[in-house]
């Protein structure tokens, strides 16, 4: 077809020009597209990965000029990595964070204050107390509440019934709980009567904090009773008693109890709202079967009061982000879009949105399910802020090491309490 060398050269030249033009067009389009990096553990966990990937894809489809690069980092690693990345000057634009880690990151000063991005309408739609603990000393909002996931006292009605207990009347006091634990242990020796996280990590202190408060103990922070107080030793003594009686299984992370609970091998479990979704995913239980088996209520009380901790997740934006408007658009979408709430927050993450009204009737019906209702009306009002910050992280190691010594060793409780006190940040 091509007759001579001249024609070949002409063709090559034409192809080259077309190629260069196409390349320039692609480059120009790539330059117009904004890339937002999103560090999160939702993409690192099997149960939440499909949900967050769908939400990201939906956001990208609705915002063709923004590309989201999801960086999957495990929950236990994310704070460490974010601090190190912020120190070395290459943080992501947006990150998922929770609990003490949120305040730790906030204390670095590397986060973008979000007040100017939050519209009046959005501020008015935020649930009361959703932003508690997310403001610095100057009142500036350093993290946006993505969802709420406080812990509740879950009880297995079938196990209670087999133990001769009233399944509709879960224990309300520590004494009632002790009686119930004894009845369960003697009637069903293979069942773990009470599942609580006794690992040594800041999350475990957050999770155990309400139990301490139930005895009136406040190890650190404002109004601290200290580790050697009567209240704290009462708590440590109780932990030792229930451990020695075989009512708890020390050393397990709360996540390790969830499959056991799904199999019907745990009577009571102190866990977040997400437990329902995890158990249903693991056991294939329908909603009806779930509600026949499980109920949730507030923590039994000792000498103190019933409280809970906020295990929900927050979203942060780093000051170093070059695309702050796009980053905020993504944060707002994750926390408030009905699609994101339906496909991630209430479904795979099994948590509550941080906004009052989603503006979606179907979603409102989902949120009126018994578990969500129990959390919203009964448990969330008992939310008590914890003294998060760098000192809380240091205290966590000392306090949880002491709790572990109490539940696994024979050292006198007074000595353990003194040792905790010595290790607490002064």
């Amino acid at each position: 077809m091509i007759r001579n060398r001249k024609s070949v050269l002409k063709l090559l030249a034409a192809v080259s020009v077309a190629g260069i033009a196409a390349g320039m067009a692609v480059t120009a389009s790539a330059q117009e597209k904004i890339t937002i990096t999103f560090a999160n553990w939702a993409a690192a966990e099997g149960t939440t990965k499909p949900g967050i990937e769908k939400v990201i894809a939906d956001f990208e489809a609705a915002n063709p000029d923004i590309d989201i690069v999801s960086e999957a980092i495990s929950f236990s690693e994310i704070a460490r990595q974010l601090v190190l990345r912020a120190r070395s000057g290459n943080p992501p634009d947006v990150a998922q964070i929770a609990g003490n880690d949120t305040v730790l990151l906030g204390s670095t000063g590397a986060l973008e204050p979000l007040d100017s991005y939050v519209s009046d309408e959005l501020a008015a739609n935020l649930k009361s107390g959703a932003d508690a603990g997310l403001r610095d000393k100057d009142g500036s909002l350093f993290a946006f509440p993505w969802n709420q996931s406080p812990a509740g006292f879950w009880y297995n009605k079938k196990i209670m019934e087999q133990a001769g207990l009233d399944p509709e009347n879960p224990p309300r006091t520590i004494d009632e709980l002790n009686e119930a634990l004894a009845a369960i242990k003697s009637s069903q020796p293979d069942v773990i009567p009470l599942a609580i996280d006794t690992t040594n990590r800041p999350f475990a202190l957050s999770s155990n904090w309400p139990w301490m408060q139930s005895f009136g103990a406040v190890p650190v922070g404002e109004g601290a009773t200290g580790a050697e107080s009567e209240e704290m030793t009462a708590y440590l003594n109780w932990m030792r008693e229930i451990a020695q009686a075989g009512y708890i299984d020390p050393g397990r992370r709360i996540g390790e109890f969830r499959p056991l609970a799904a199999q019907g091998n745990v009577a009571f479990i102190w866990d977040q709202v997400l437990l329902k979704g995890v158990m249903q995913a693991a056991s294939g239980m329908s909603d009806e079967e779930f509600y026949e088996t499980w109920g949730v209520t507030t923590l039994p009380v000792g000498g103190g009061k019933a409280t809970t901790f906020e295990g929900g997740h927050q979203l942060i934006m780093f000051s170093a982000s070059k695309n702050k408007e796009a980053a905020w658009k993504f944060i707002e979408y994750l926390a408030t879009s009905p699609d994101a709430i339906a496909n991630y927050t209430t479904s795979v993450n099994s948590s509550l949105p941080s906004i009052k009204s989603t503006g979606n009737a179907e979603l409102d019906e989902v949120l009126s399910a018994p578990v969500f209702k129990a959390f919203s009306e009964e448990i969330i009002p008992t939310l008590a802020p914890q003294p998060y910050g760098p000192e809380f992280a240091a205290a966590a190691t000392a306090v949880m090491a002491g709790v572990q010594e109490a539940v696994t060793g024979t050292k006198p409780i007074d000595e353990i309490a003194a040792s905790i006190q010595q290790q607490l940040p002064q």
Binding site: L104, T108, D190, D249, P390, A401, E405, S419
Partner: protein
């Protein structure tokens, strides 16, 4: 001829004397070492005399020996140091003994049988450390762990034993996992050393009617002394730094019962972000490792002689 040799030696000696202490040819190696080893070490030493917290974006403060003074009064540091010593020397000592016994027991097995046994005995060495840790963690589970299940089934225990959740049992339990993973290394090394013993020596001992114990004690063990010493020192250094197994099994708990120096440094640096104080612990740890490395080098030199 003799005169020539003498002349050559006489010429060689002054040349040897003129050899520079630092050859230009080693400079690239030295530069790489300075960057890869020297910089982190020097920087760690510098950090150890500063109050430096990663969460605090303000510049670090020079505090002199304050971190070291704090360390002297830190009970967790001393417990971690003691745990490190027990974990390291206990694991290496028992694993070396086990490896030696296994090598002596399988020494005379020949052919395919020996190869099969050796492969089987070496398998734990091939398993990645993190896998070993999780394997044992699940075997040790108080409820549902195979160890408790077997012991309960055999009637040896009446209640499940909290292997990793008892402040008394956790360290020995972690050491068992470590010994299981490390013993094949000693087995391999001792097997190789046994096969290197000259046949003449063994034959002579047999002619002299040496018994089994006499043969092991007076003939084989002297030959195995140096390889065992060197490999033990190597393993001591390696175990001193062991992080993966302990972290995956207990994270240093319960309490501080399995916390070693490396676990403590990790917690200080990456949970409390106290880089200054963590560096001070790191410097002490480095000094100890250097002492062990010096012993190792000395042992190597002794073997060459």
């Amino acid at each position: 001829m003799t005169a020539d040799v003498i002349t050559t030696n006489a010429r060689a000696r002054p040349r040897a004397r003129r050899e520079p202490w630092l050859d230009w040819m080693v400079l690239p190696t030295l530069i790489v070492m300075a960057v890869v080893v020297g910089y982190p070490v020097v920087y760690t030493i510098l950090l150890s005399v500063q109050d430096y917290n990663l969460l605090d974006f303000t510049p670090a403060n020079y505090v002199g020996a304050q971190n070291y003074a704090k360390l002297a009064a830190d009970s967790v540091f001393w417990q971690s140091l003691l745990n490190t010593a027990i974990y390291t020397f206990g694991s290496v000592g028992i694993a070396a003994l086990l490896g030696l016994v296994l090598a002596l027991l399988t020494e005379n097995l020949g052919g395919a049988r020996f190869r099969a046994v050796r492969t089987l005995l070496l398998m734990p060495w091939a398993v990645p450390f993190v896998v070993v840790a999780f394997l044992f963690r699940y075997m040790y589970l108080q409820n549902g762990g195979i160890i408790n299940a077997v012991l309960l089934w055999a009637g040896i225990i009446n209640d499940p034993v909290p292997w990793l959740n008892s402040a008394m049992l956790a360290l020995p339990a972690v050491m068992v996992a470590n010994i299981w993973a490390m013993a094949p290394f000693f087995f391999l090394l001792v097997s190789a050393a046994l096969s290197a013993i000259p046949n003449e020596v063994i034959e002579s001992a047999r002619v002299d009617r040496a018994g089994t114990w006499g043969m092991i004690w007076h003939i084989k063990l002297p030959f195995l002394r140096n390889p065992l010493l060197i490999s033990s020192l190597l393993m001591v250094i390696s175990n001193f730094n062991d992080f993966a197994k302990i972290w995956a099994m207990t994270q240093g708990g319960p309490g501080y019962s399995t916390s070693t120096l490396v676990i403590y440094v990790y917690r200080l640096a990456f949970e409390s972000f106290e880089f200054g104080y963590a560096s001070a612990v790191g410097v002490i740890w480095l000094v100890m490792l250097m002492a062990l490395a010096w012993l190792y080098m000395r042992a190597l030199r002794m073997e060459k002689r």
